[in-house]
Structures are given as structure tokens and as C-alpha cells.
């Protein structure tokens, strides 16, 4: 049981979200519900053994991905941990490519070579989900380094800001601290977004990290701007995060955000969740981020009716159903694909057993 609970910082008065058109917020609601529905069908497919390996469900955390990704530009690089389906969809990945990847099909985003934990989407500047806890944190610094280098040395790019996502479990890794130090030392435009769901797999934050309710202290140690935000309210999140992202881009410097959130499912599909009570999960479901935004749109902005919501859900159900059908029908990778995409410049004698060559183009390119 974790005592982890989202704080409720006062809403920003007249924050930037108030100026967003209704259609933008409806699109956010759509994206969040798309993720929720997509993950429901993912679990179903996993239980039917159509998806293999490790599979980490994002349900409950939707506001984090949708709120932060919509605070930056499409050309800004994004890099993820392994709980990555939600961000991929929020970034614009075709749900069919996402589902086909998990089904191990050649039309999946990584041609069936990555799986659930490795969602890559070059046209959407999504530099992958990464399977080793914390491995993506130096990559995030590097993406920011490249962006700054392109702007400053090559003079070919605009000012960008990179987003690097990690769970609270990753803050205990050495790689994370090295990445923070580099980002601060070199003034790299990267935001480390801790999706703090209170658990490092099955170990509550009080049991896995020192000073567990003051994660921003890590950033302060590197003299990095930091923020603790309730990640269950997307409007509140945006109001705090958007100005920070703008500042990091403009000033070309890093930041650290502790987004308090919660996952409804286990760490992975094989988690019996004995470390937390059903009551705890229900408590968080009462503050559900999708219900929260829906309520805002229906009752405060009065721009959505019950019928609109039903129509939106119906549309999403259709799209996700189509993604599953597509994944089921999609061709498997040809046996020859086993030894393709190993080298960009395959040469003779690189291996005693393999004759490396190029195979099918990635379907997203």
C-alpha cells in the first residue's frame, strides 16, 4: 500500500488551458479515451495469447501523455520507457501499427521486431520505448543535445525541447542521475517527466526511494527547474506544464516534473497486485482523468452533450476494433527478416553464420 496521493495544487487562474478552443479539449478527450479503449483491447488480446512477452498497460495515466505531448511541437523529440502505447497513440501513431507491432506483424511500427516495449515512430519523432529501466534517460539528454547542436552549431533547426518519460522506479537508477547532471551541466533542452504512479513494479515508493515525497529534490540537487503536478487533471497539468515547456525551449535548458498519477492495472500483465488494495485503486478511479475532463466539457464549457460523448466512444471503439482486426490479418514478418535491419552497411564476414542484408522498408517510413 502506498501513501502516494496526487496533491491538489490550486488551479492556475486564467491558465493557458482556458484559452484553448473547445475542439482542442475534445481532441484531448478523444486521445485519452482512445488510449483507454486501446489498452482494454490490448489486455484482451494478451489474455488470448495474441500478444506475447511483457506488456505494460497505461490505463489511468492517460492525462500525462496527452497533456504533456500536446504542450510541445510535433518536431520536438520524445523518448519513452516501456509503458509506451499511450504516448505512441498520443503522438499520432496509427493504432493499427501499434497493435500490429504487439501482434508481431511486419506492418507493426517496428516490423514485429520490437514488441510492446519498443514503440518507435520516426515520422512522429518518437524515439522509442525502451525496455531497460532508466535507459532512455541519457538518450533524452542526447536528443536534446542534438536539437541544440542543430540550432546552434549547424544552424539548421529551430529551438526544440525534448521530452523524456520515466516512471518513479527509474529515479533510483544511476543512468538517471548521470543524465540529469549532463542535462543541467550542458544546459540541454530536455524535460524529464516522472510519471509517478507510486510503484516501482510492486514496490511502493516509500520502499524504493529515499525522500519519496519530495522527488523534486533530485532536480534541485542539479540546480534544475522542477515542478510537482497533479497528473490526474489534464487542464491543471497543461496550465503548469505548457509554460515550463515554453521556457525550456526558449532558454534551452532542462527541467524536471513529478507528475503524480496512478495506474489502474498491474505493473505488467502478469502482476497479481498483492501489494495494493482494491480500495486504493477505487479511490483513484474516483478521480479519473477522463471523467474529470468530460465533466469539464459537459458542465463547465457546456460544449459536449451526453450524445456527443456516446458518439465519440462509439467511433473510438470502431477504430480500435479495426486496429485489432488489422493486426490479426496483417502478414507476419518473412523468415528472412530475422537477419535484416542488423547493419545499416552490411558487409561480408560480419558474422560466421549470418548473411546480413536489407529487408522490407519500415511501414511508417
Amino acid at each position: 500500500m502506498t501513501s502516494h496521493a496526487p496533491s491538489k495544487p490550486a488551479a492556475v487562474k486564467d491558465g493557458p488551458s482556458t484559452k484553448l478552443p473547445d475542439e482542442t479539449l475534445k481532441k484531448w478527450l478523444y486521445d485519452m479515451q482512445l488510449i483507454r479503449e486501446f489498452e482494454a483491447r490490448t489486455m484482451q488480446a494478451y489474455q488470448q495469447a495474441k500478444i506475447g512477452g511483457f506488456c505494460h498497460i497505461y490505463s489511468g495515466q492517460e492525462a500525462c501523455a496527452v497533456g504533456t505531448i500536446n504542450s510541445v511541437e510535433h518536431h520536438d523529440p520524445v523518448v519513452l520507457a516501456y509503458r509506451d502505447h499511450g504516448h505512441a497513440l498520443a503522438r499520432g501513431m496509427d493504432p493499427r501499427a501499434c497493435m500490429a507491432e504487439m501482434f508481431g506483424k511486419v506492418t507493426g511500427c517496428a516490423k514485429g521486431k520490437g514488441g510492446s516495449m519498443h514503440m518507435f515512430d520516426k515520422p512522429n519523432n518518437l524515439f522509442g520505448g525502451h525496455g531497460i529501466v532508466g535507459a532512455q534517460t541519457p538518450l533524452g539528454a542526447g536528443l536534446a543535445f542534438a536539437a541544440r547542436y542543430e540550432w546552434e552549431v549547424l544552424e539548421t533547426g529551430p529551438k526544440k525541447v525534448a521530452l523524456c518519460y520515466l516512471g518513479d522506479g527509474a529515479i533510483d537508477q544511476g543512468a538517471f542521475h548521470e543524465a540529469l547532471n549532463l542535462a543541467a551541466l550542458f544546459s540541454l533542452p530536455v524535460i524529464y517527466i516522472i510519471e509517478n504512479n507510486g510503484y516501482s513494479m510492486g514496490t511502493a515508493i516509500e520502499r524504493h526511494s529515499a525522500n519519496p515525497h519530495n522527488l523534486v529534490s533530485r532536480a534541485l540537487g542539479y540546480d534544475m527547474k522542477s515542478l510537482e503536478v497533479d497528473g490526474l487533471s489534464i487542464l491543471n497539468l497543461y496550465d503548469h506544464f505548457k509554460p515550463l515547456a515554453d521556457e525550456c525551449r526558449e532558454m534551452q535548458k532542462p527541467a524536471f516534473v513529478d507528475l503524480k498519477t496512478y495506474r489502474y492495472q498491474g505493473h505488467s500483465m502478469s502482476d497479481p497486485q498483492k501489494y495494493r488494495s482494491k480500495d486504493e485503486v477505487e479511490q483513484f478511479k474516483d478521480r479519473d482523468s477522463i471523467a474529470n475532463l468530460l465533466d469539464h466539457l459537459m458542465n463547465e464549457r457546456s460544449c459536449m452533450s451526453e450524445d456527443d460523448w456516446k458518439a465519440m466512444q462509439k467511433k473510438i471503439k470502431g477504430i480500435v476494433r479495426e486496429a485489432v482486426e488489422y493486426a490479426e490479418q496483417a502478414p507476419e514478418p518473412d523468415a528472412s527478416e530475422l537477419s535484416t535491419d542488423v547493419y545499416a552497411n552490411p558487409q561480408p564476414n560480419l558474422s560466421p553464420t549470418e548473411d546480413y542484408r536489407h529487408g522490407a522498408r519500415n511501414p511508417l517510413l
Binding site: 535507459a135 542534438a146 547532471n181 488489422y326 511501414p363 517510413l365
Partner: protein, 361 residues
Amino acid sequence: MTTLDTPPMIETPIHPAVGEWTLPEFVSEDQLPSREGDRVIQYREALREAMSEEMRKDKRVFLIGEEVAEYNGAYKISQGMLDEFGPKRIIDSPISENGFAGACIGAAMAGLRPIVEFMSWSFSLVAADPILNNAPKMLYMSGGQWGCPIVFRGNDGAGGQLGSTHSWCVEGLYANVPGMKMAIPSNPYDAKGLLKTAICDPDPVFFLESERMLGDKAHVPDEEYYIPFGRARRVIEGDACTLVSFGRPVNFCVEAAEALAGEGINVEVLDMRTIRPLDIDSIIESVKKTNRVLVVDQSWPFAGISSEVITQITEHAFDWLDAPPARVNTRDVPTPYAKHLEYDYLPNPERIAEGVRRVMA
């Protein structure tokens, strides 16, 4: 939504994941500039020349590592480069290999061409996750969306009484991983030509130098030249036994060959120059002539490069062997400190000559 049909095959020689890519023009060994001449410079200067020439041509190339900039290089390899290229391209890193090696992989994915200097490859062990789990697998794991054109380089092997933790020969460990290439020059001329090729290659290249060779001097042409990966050089021609080696021990093989010539044993010495790719064709050609082989490898024997080379020889030329293939490695113990113990631990001319006599017996 985009249409997702079964994707077409890649037609270009270089994978589109790294964007448009032009390889340098490679010429045959006899068309390379002469190895003889009076422009004698050190191994470290040859490395510097290779990096500087490529950095002048491509602004995406940068050098990062501990003490590479203001200190002018812990081993003076990058001396003067900060003055020429400035602090945005010659970058001092903190002692944080996991961090800066990992960051450079991100930068390479995003389109830059990093050269990452490890002061010693021994220190790369704390960066094992990025250099083994990310760089060589990125192209595969992303289904061909992102490559990782990066060079990791630094001192490999015993530096001279540095003890066990600082004397790693990483080739046995690292060459195991598919997706990477590994070059290991034994002399200044090859150091320049191979490093230039490494920087121009779109795959992650592990470039292994040696602290003990940085001061070695030889003629290095002023002009630009590129030595292709996967092409061994015959250093000494002979017919009695083939010596297969790479990196610093090639020089010990030459010394041993001179001693053995006095005994009437004329060995052939092959310098592999790259471990992955491995020019097994040249090895087999030589073994078919000499019918005997000794592999000299500065890393440990168990499941190492010598094991691999000998396996491939037996796979391809078993019937041509007149004696069991043999090897001289570093002794199978941690690296000792005491000078004479370290000497005995390493492949040295005496142990190599003894190995040849064993094969000839």
C-alpha cells in the same frame, strides 16, 4: 490514417534509416598511398589527423570525452583540436560514461555523428547498457527506423602496470554482440585509415587503440585515405605457419617472426585490422598455404576472439591443417601489477615463438 500495406523492399546499399549516406571510395591495398616515407608521426597524431580531417568535412561530427578539450586529451590524442574546432564540437565530459555514451547514442539517432572517447575501454564497462543494449540494437529494435552512426574509441588492453581493473581487453566481450563493428589498428598508418573509415561508416564502430602504442612512430601520408573494414594485411610473408593477430600483439608477432627466421622457420603474419568484420577469407587462403596456424589474441582465451577465429578455421579449412590450430592469449587470470608478471601475462614475442615451435613440432 496512413495506408499500411506490406512494405516494399529496401533497394539502396545503405539502409534508409540513417538517411542519405555516401561511403568513401575504397581502393585495393596496392593503390593506397605508400607506407614508406619520411612523414613520421606518432600513432596518437594519426588518430588526431583522422578525426580532424573528418570534422573539417562534416560539421555533424563532434568529439566528446573526459579531458578531450581543455586538458588537450588525457593522452594528448586530441591536442589542439579545441583550438581548431571550439568548445561546441570538442566537448569535455564529466566522468560519467553511462551518461555521455548514452546521450551520444541519442544524438546519433537524431542525426549527429558523435566520436565518443573513452579514456580507457576499461571505463566503458559502466556504460555497458547504452553501448551494448542500445547502439548495436537500435536499427533492429526500431524495425529499421533509426540507425546509430557513432564511433566509440579509446585505449584497450594493458597500459603498463595499471592492475586488473584498468587493463581490460574488451574485444572478447563486446565483439559478441551483433550490430556492431570493431576495428583495432596495430600501427599509425592503419590507425588513420581505419579511423576515417569508422567515422564514415553508418553503423556503431568500436575502435580499439592502445595506450602502449600511442607513441609508436611511422610514416603516415599527409593525404586522405580510407582502409576498408574486413581486409587483413599480410605483414610478413611466409610458408611455415600462419600467425593471425590484431592490435598491439601484431608487433610482437613480427618480433617473434624475426627470431624464428633465425631458426629457419618462416612464418606468415596477418594483421586482421578489424575483428568484426573478420577477413576469414585471407586467413583461410594463408592456412591453405602453410597448413598450420597460431592465433595471437590479447584478450582472455575462454570464448574469446581466438576461439572464434579457430572455430572458423576448422569450419572452413579442417582438411588443410597438418597440426591442431593453436593460440596464444593473455593468461587466463586477472591482470597482475608486478612488471614481470604482467609481461608473462601478455602475449609477448617469447610466448609467441614458443607457440609456433609447438605448432611446428
